[in-house]
Amino acid sequence: MDEKTIIAKRVALELKDGDLVNLGIGLPTMVPQFLPSKIEVYFQSENGIVGLAAMPAEGYENKALTDAGGGYVGAIPGAASIDSALSFGLIRGGHLDLSVLGGLEVDELGLLANWMIPGKMVPGMGGAMDIVSGAKRVIVAMTHTAKGGKPKIIPACTLPLTSARRVSLIVTELAVIEPTDEGLVLREVAPGVTVEQVVAATSAKLIIPANVLTMPINVDAQAAA
């Protein structure tokens, strides 16, 4: 199973019945397909809809119904159109239960950098700064290391921060790590991954409890289908 699927499957377990959830562009948009069927979750897209649904069938796309990346999406019956002020009022005002977004770096304080690499890539923060500052829970869903194995979970962020607020959880293809007052706690490893492998791929100090769980997901490619 590829690393993105592992991450998306594990993140899906964090969504609770009735949650209002914002998903960042890219990997986080894979999360809904792994939701347990018993729970009902509502998705918000910061460009202005509460009740986002999966992409419509070919021929049913609407030019006025897209996600924040401009890609076609659907809407559930009972969805609501909102303007940008209300959208960020939901985000900042404590109405958004969970945000899942990508990361470039996360450090020992649980601070996230995900919006620019000075001089190289400056896409802009979009809604990320408001989301990380305002959502009740923020999950960073990212590959554990950058290309070439360079750690992304590091002692202190070198890139410009997204927020001074600590994120709630880091989910990678290797591990689940929780930032706490004491530091980064290794909660889970992926099936078949050892604690030593996680430590080797992480340059930040990790607190290793006596009991590190294995992610409760099935990574058997057959079963995933």
Binding site: N47, T66, G69, G70, S84, F88, V122, P123, G124, G134
Partner: protein, 217 residues
Amino acid sequence: MNKSVSCAQAVEMIPDGASLMVGGFMGVGSPHRIINELVAQKKKDLTVICNDAGRPNYGIAHLISARLVKKLIATHIGLNQESQRQMIAGEMEIELIPQGTMAERIRAGGFGLGGVLTSTGIGTIVAEGKQVIEVDGKQFLLEKPLTADFALIGADRSDYRGNLEYSLTARNFNPLMAMAGRVVIAEPKTIVPMGVIPPDSVVTPFVCVNYIVEGAF
């Protein structure tokens, strides 16, 4: 009063060097005919306030590719490589601001407020040079209001007086900008007779709108 004008007439009112708020999110809900006409009339040295830089060949990307934008105030430029190139080459000034902060700065400008206090950006480079105000022990940034010479609004339906309805995610910044432009030009998809849009469906009331661009008959 019938406020409808042709697209060419609307754009003729806009001088070189004007500041423009342009509605839309990655081009969705942007006033595309007005944007194309700005390019056709070669309006130069524009300051553009818009959520983003559009996508290649869509939305305000046309203005940027035609090199008509002197300064862009936006939240995200990542889907338009040309805007990043112009920024890094120093050909276009870009001010990046958080999206929720942009919405509230525009709202403050249009609603007559002296600014807004937000925790977004505290402890980041966004806070540089800004006043930090403590309220009940919590720190906030003072973000100042934004207004513009013209607000260019993409709407779904308008009546001839300028009551506006929007469609789905094409709404985004449009209702906020319609309050914050000194001259507001709306480009609806269709213009309908008075009374067809029920009062409960009006999002931008007609008093905010100065001109309505006629349909492309």
